[in-house]
Amino acid sequence: MPRLTLKGLSKSYGPVKVVDNVDLTLQEGEFVCLLGPSGCGKTTTLRMIAGFVEPTEGSISMDGEVFSAPGAVLPPERRRMSMIFQSYAIWPNMTVAENVAFGLKLQKLSSADVRDRVAQILKVVQMSHLADRYPAELSGGQQQRVALARAIVVKPAVLLLDEPLSNLDANLREEMRFEIRRLHDEFRITTVYVTHDQSEAMATADRIAVMNAGRIEQVDAPHLIYARPRTRFVAAFIGRTNLLAGHVANGEIGLDGFALPTAQLGEAVPDSARPILLSVRPQSMALHRSRPQAHDGRPVLSAVVAQRTYLGESWDYVVHPQQSGLQLRVTAPPLQVHEVGEAVWLEIDPQQIAVVA
């Protein structure tokens, strides 16, 4: 039985539907990221799971029991979940140890148990030496660790995190990203993690649910979200890509100025005549000075460099295939330098092309 199930979940504020018919299922021990641009309804979804917001349609159930439905919301304190907030919400009137002990005391554990569990979790998050400090005396990263300890120590059925790293500086963010994943590998708590940062989602999640305008567009493992986006939004939102509109007919995909045999693509394309949208990542194309050996019958086009930007790790070229209105972004290694206006050969790897729609 799945641990957490969202079924047809919606939330409207007045006429505005900020969460729209969301379906999502988490297995026990799974780590799912809700990823999407600002204002797409991630926080609202998370707060509905926590019981702070009542859904206007649909339901949330845990282990098969309905926790939230319109008109009937089990209060947050009875859900056995815990949550980490964007502001950390560390109580400034309590020491680190008291903060962490709060949830345990509410569970009426004996004080010896409380002490042991607090000491144990503080060791896990490397905060033992600061147990008697007050939050005002801690750095941002340390407060973050306290928030983590406080949420994990109660062994919640579900752990919810709302952009927990967005207030940290870049280096610390990377460090804490691995810390969160390490804690998940250690405790295997079912986790919903909200973020708008895709690299954060990629690094931590088992599966990513990409949200846009209140809807979930796609739920998949991180590498599939990247390599096999299923909607135009996902393809454009995750990484950078070239979106090409074409038409399927007679075993070929007709694109602006050239055609691809459907058999060359990495995934099956039903052979009925219809429009199609392809996502071609800049990394799945290469530039050459002279016409390359077309191995495996890969498409090779002659093109002109229209723009270039040096990004440090790579070049970002915009090229213009001849007899085509397309503008394609192509990534090349730092030492492969082409001038603007130079004629080049463009080689495409069809295996990496994703059929978006």
Partner: protein, 582 residues
Amino acid sequence: MTETAAILPKAAAEEARRPAWLRRLRYLEPSNLLWILLVAALLFLVAVPIGKLLIVSFEQQGTGAFTLSNYATAYGRARYLEALANSLMLGALSSLLSVIFAVPMAWAVSRTDMPGKGFTWAIVMGAFIMPPYLGAVGWILLAGPNSGFLNQAWTWLTGLQAPLVNVYTFFGLALVIALHSFPLIFIFVKSALDLVSSEMEDAANILGAGTSTAMRKITLPLVWPAILGGIIVVFLETVALFGTPAIIGIPARINVVTTQLWQFFEYPVRVEVAAAYAMPLLLITVGMITVQKLLLARKGFVSQTGKGGERRPIKLGRWRWAVLGYCGFVGALAVVMPLMVLLQASFAKAWGRGLAWSNLTFENYAYLLFRHEMALTSIWNTLWFSAAAATAAVCIAVLVAYIVARKLVPFGSALAFLAMAPFVIPGIVMAIGFYAAYAAPPIALYGTALIIILAFTARFLPIAFANSAAAVRAVHPEMEEAARILGGGRLRTIARITAPLIIRSLIGGWLIVFIVASRELSAAVFLVGPRTRTMAVLLYDLSEAGNFEVLAAFGGLLLALTLILVAIGMKLAGRDFMLRRN
């Protein structure tokens, strides 16, 4: 983990099986009931008295029939209209004088390297906490036309018989009022100046403006709304002030609105006429506060400049002593001189005989503390009325603030509006409203402690609300949510998380209400009965009797009480807890 998680949702399943209405009831928060209670309390405290005031102004005495005759009476005599004009002129003159006192001091403290800033703060604080009617008594002792100390010294120095200064004049009255109102402008202007960064002036300098041009073109326009806001507040305070105009104005035959209202309450009491006569006061206050809000809400002024960059004090050179001298001069007029003569008089057999061992006595204090029939009672009354009102105001205010901030009920802003409404109602108008609504049967609260406590509660509710709202806003909702998701119910969360986080500010707010209530005269004077006199009212009674030694001693007692309270407040809530701008 698995076993705990598995036990739990059973509860939810049971919940889900219950009928829908029962589930709703189960999830209903007690806040809805509380909301109804609060609305009732606020209506009782704020809406009913003001509504009643309006109604009564159109009623015939005795019959209750509709009539306009109250208005005809109230505005039908030249003497009454003159009082109205006097009030307006008095307001204008004392705000002008307050600006002259306050703006240079604020600028010196905020922007310059003047020495003795702590001393200047002490002056402002002293002028602020000294009850204005005490200052008035002090100035009668200083500048009474014949025996005032200043005039005696003048005669002694020059041999001239004509008095140098006379407090019983229009200007004298305005000056005494301004000497206790200028701290309001000081606070406004100083906090505005504190936000002007030196970089703004530097930016003008780099474009070729000299120091004084930069001040005229940049600094002054930036704080101008603050000055104007301060002027409005002082104007309104003056127009609504009762004590000083009664103590100085009545002997000087200067009639103003508040003293005229007082006369309508002399036997036979004419509440209807008083209600009609109070309307301009109410309308002016509502109107000017609206203007002030609009002024301060406009974009592009100091509040919008954000965290300005570095601030460097302007070097005054030799002038800094002159500026300090000016601050000292204001301090002498406002605090030091009145206090000295009051203290001297309180320990004197006859205050006119000056400082001499033969003139020293503790008899005045002894008389008040051991033989006067009302003095001790009034001290006790003051303490417990103020404590009760402060407690009630803070309780109502914090509940309203919490419900509004957490959006626990629909139309929460209506609650906030009612809680803030007394802000635009002058104390004396509030008192007449309470008199009209609750003095007579069926409620018949006249002469009881309750009516005074309720009036104080209503009058100072906005102070308590502003304070509580700030305190609640400072607690991030996630602080509470973090406790709830870990298993704490709403009440437990409030008790364990919210309350400890806001309690200090609430104590600060409680003390402010307690202090202002303990010296409140205008709201009390209309509502006290023979046994419910407060210190402020008794002090006014004593001033009418004209025994200045006993009066000064009683003022000394009141001041001692205030000082103790302020000291406690500073200890608990910080040095400037009374001067913070909300």
